[in-house]
Symmetry: C3
Subunit: 218 residues, 3 copies
């Protein structure tokens, strides 16, 4: 395995770990048992890529390369064990810590998988279809978190967190452009960074996208 | 592009606009920001066809023909801008207007996409498998709205609105029969009209399908 | 059709009937009308296998062999008619009966479809990839019930019922091992039995998997 393949694999695994932890945290928060937590972690980690591969008409890489699921299982297990051992971490004063870690893990996963989705579409031969490449990136990026939230019955992050889809779309487009100019590795790095910067900036500076307030009648 | 292709494209675009507006309205109602609204509009508009194409084993047309997504984005933007500009439209006295428009957009989308699903299956070469053709029609018709409601966390239209699946099934079957006798365009028109007539009739005459009332213990 | 094919078909149909009834019961409980109940029954019965076939890149068997959907429709119709005719069955004193039947139907479906998923992957030529085979089994087993619960808006069985995913995973692994030693029929039977034994044991002896209790702030 040459250096480039190795770097790509490492980047993918970081994204897998991040998303799997975010899934596990949602599962723990929803008081699921250990298997529910593991399932939710794995679904979050491999879900987006699975949708992408199915649309590309190839067998999902999660199946042919067990390492992704193995890493996802271990990553989902970690927070579960940590919280089981150290009960103090469950005290409500750690809510902000929880929220912050959840935000970080979800953002890293979103950034990396958005870039990975673009790169997968590129290697699948869709060099010219910038639209399709971006779409694959966004689908791969938001797919896992969307499955996680829908399965756990919580309001999807993509709709409640501001500039979530926005960050993924911007990252995907930058990733495609970077790919054309400098190739795969820079594209992966730049795409990820763009998403992270937008997400963190939005959270820190309270960026809000316009939304219409209707009188609530529910 | 010959006349028939053009007519089919126009019909598909009308369905795309209708479903995208219905998705955007649900998003606005759920107080999503502008990107959430756009995502929900696009998912509603292209979701059903994407499921259909994945099952048929072809790359979703939404990816290869960006026009559908482009039209969906513009259609989802329209109600958002309209409501942002004209705040009066948000007053609760417009609830019935909202409900009516929502019903119309969803019914038109349901009708057109049911027929389009049948026609896509037909052109894919499944002339004889009436069952498969109808199934594809219903999947394409209800798929987008189902994704919309599940993602937005509202009770799926298909289960709460009476004779929703029923209308789609009837329309799909009529569409297949019309296809055999008179070809594509008449099939698309007849399939759509059948769905619309059943939906409007059900709403107007308060048709109710039987349902079992259990004592509620939730 | 030789004997083995016949036995496999019968096993699949039993699973279809069980899952379809479980879907119909959820629909009735959610006060859906007859079409909603039928749709939910069919989705529960064919949903898992459809995901599996899409991932394997083949046209879902539910489409090419209408018998599965036909049997699912009839099975979903049965509890609906029974409850419509015999109102007494709706009295709350039958809640335990309802819960028991629901548990049985869901467990039988989970067991059979887990084994069927493994066997489908095997016949698709993935003899050596034990990981993929098990994954297909679990996906086929839990997929239908997961779609049912997400579409009906109830907390997914897989996350609230203890050792649900656990039972499916154990059954899938045993099924793969049995397949290697004794072939298809024994694999199907053993896989199903393992799932059933674990589910029933978990329910009867109140097995609980560890889960972390966080202070609730919702």
């Amino acid at each position: 395995m040459d250096l480039q393949t190795l770097i790509v694999l490492i980047i993918e695994l970081i994204g897998t770990i991040a998303f799997s932890i975010s899934g596990a945290m949602v599962g723990i928060r929803r008081k699921m048992d250990i298997f529910g937590v593991l399932v939710l972690g794995v679904v979050t980690a491999v879900g987006g890529g699975m949708m992408r591969d199915v649309i590309l008409g190839k067998t999902p890489s999660a199946f042919v390369k067990p390492i992704y699921v193995e890493v996802a299982v271990i990553s989902a297990l970690a927070p579960f064990l940590l919280l089981s051992i150290n009960k103090r971490l469950m005290h409500s004063k750690y809510q902000t810590l929880y929220a912050g870690l959840m935000f970080l893990m979800d953002s890293v996963g979103l950034g990396i998988f958005t870039a990975v989705g673009v790169s997968t579409g590129w290697t699948a031969g869709y060099h010219d279809n910038m639209f399709f490449l971006s779409f694959l990136g966004v689908l791969t990026g938001v797919g896992g978190g969307l499955l996680r939230d829908v399965m756990a019955g919580v309001p999807p992050y993509i709709f409640v967190k501001h500039v979530y889809a926005c960050a993924s779309i911007a990252g995907a487009i930058c990733c495609v452009l970077a790919y054309r100019s400098w190739g795969q590795i820079p594209a992966l790095v730049i795409g990820t960074i763009v998403v992270l910067v937008i997400r963190i900036g939005a959270a820190h500076y309270r960026w809000n996208l316009p939304c219409v307030k209707l009188e609530d009648e529910e």
